[in-house]
Symmetry: C2
């Protein structure tokens, strides 16, 4: 399904084509492709180059490993179990070099994860990030060391057939993508001043 | 300066080419290009599609507006004042729909900002995000409403001449980009297990 957006100002096709479907095909994702997604995340910028991100990756080639992450999903995200790959992003919340809280830890995981999902687009894959999972269970079953926080669960795979989803979810697949207006998210250097967009 | 990275697994050129220089040319960035950067951020994914991001944008076409952001930078980031555009990313820390804390607010600003800086790469621009600014001063001078947090200052512009920087900074411009090894940021679904990378 092509969900490319229409924009006032043009946007790179990698960014324009990315969206978060719920329909995934069963086809596996190759380990080389997973490698590219992780490399993309790896090269993101971060505060003091701290790189506070870790990715826990499970594919259906290892049913037990996959179930470990899948078992953390809330029921409403049950559709994600059809994806061939689940990933948990993890943030290290203090600086490794001095133990002080890293105010930008989650932010920087976000920077890296956007690289990850855009790289997926370039491989013809789709992804869907979810906050809807049991954070405490995830922490336990994955054995996260202290100082690390589960951030988001990410389903990755090839685009699937929306008709295979339950009716209400199937309908949402074809709904147009919506966002706030540009004027609501961009200002001048004082809140409420117009952004310098000519 | 070409700082394209060498990777074990190939990475999309937009992601491979992005880096954070300190040398900026004085040439302005057109308002149409700024529009594309903001559109790219606008279309990022977010938890419940909350879109908790706002960007405050200042160009040197309005010296007073520019100085408002520039005055927040710590001395060590003085080089950023040579850039033609400064942007402050801002996070709304609670959900607009129910006032509850949004655990993913900063994370989602990160997702949007990575779109922003990758879109900049596609326009031949460079960017550099900074945590080094006076957060309280930024909050005041920009008039942030309650419930919003300054996140990162971002310098944007065309690549400049490293020789124009003070010597220690000039040297850093040509240093190779470094990251943790892939094996340090990617595991299986249990911390420490190898990631399924073949």
């Amino acid at each position: 399904m092509d969900k490319t957006i229409e924009t006032t100002f043009p946007v790179h096709e990698l960014i324009a084509r990315r969206w978060s479907p719920r329909a995934f095909a069963a086809d596996p994702v190759s380990s080389a492709t997973l490698g590219s997604l992780l490399e993309a995340a790896r090269w993101a910028p971060s505060c003091f180059n701290e790189q506070p991100w870790t990715y826990l990756v499970a594919t259906k080639d290892d049913a037990e490993a996959f179930e470990r992450l899948a078992s953390c999903l809330v029921d409403a995200n049950g559709w994600a179990k059809a994806a061939p790959v689940l990933v948990l992003s993890v943030a290290q919340t203090s600086f490794a070099r001095n133990g002080k809280p890293n105010r930008h830890a989650l932010h920087d995981v976000g920077l890296a994860t956007e690289n990850f999902v855009l790289e997926a687009v370039s491989h013809g894959l789709v992804s869907h990030q979810m906050a809807g999972f049991d954070v405490e269970r995830a922490r336990e079953v994955t054995g996260l060391p202290q100082g690390h926080e589960p951030v988001a669960m990410i389903a990755i795979g090839h685009p699937g057939d929306p008709a295979a989803l339950p009716a209400p979810l199937a309908e949402r697949e074809s709904a147009p993508r919506v966002r706030k207006e540009l004027q609501q998210i961009a200002y001048g250097s004082r809140w409420g001043d117009p952004a310098p967009l000519g």
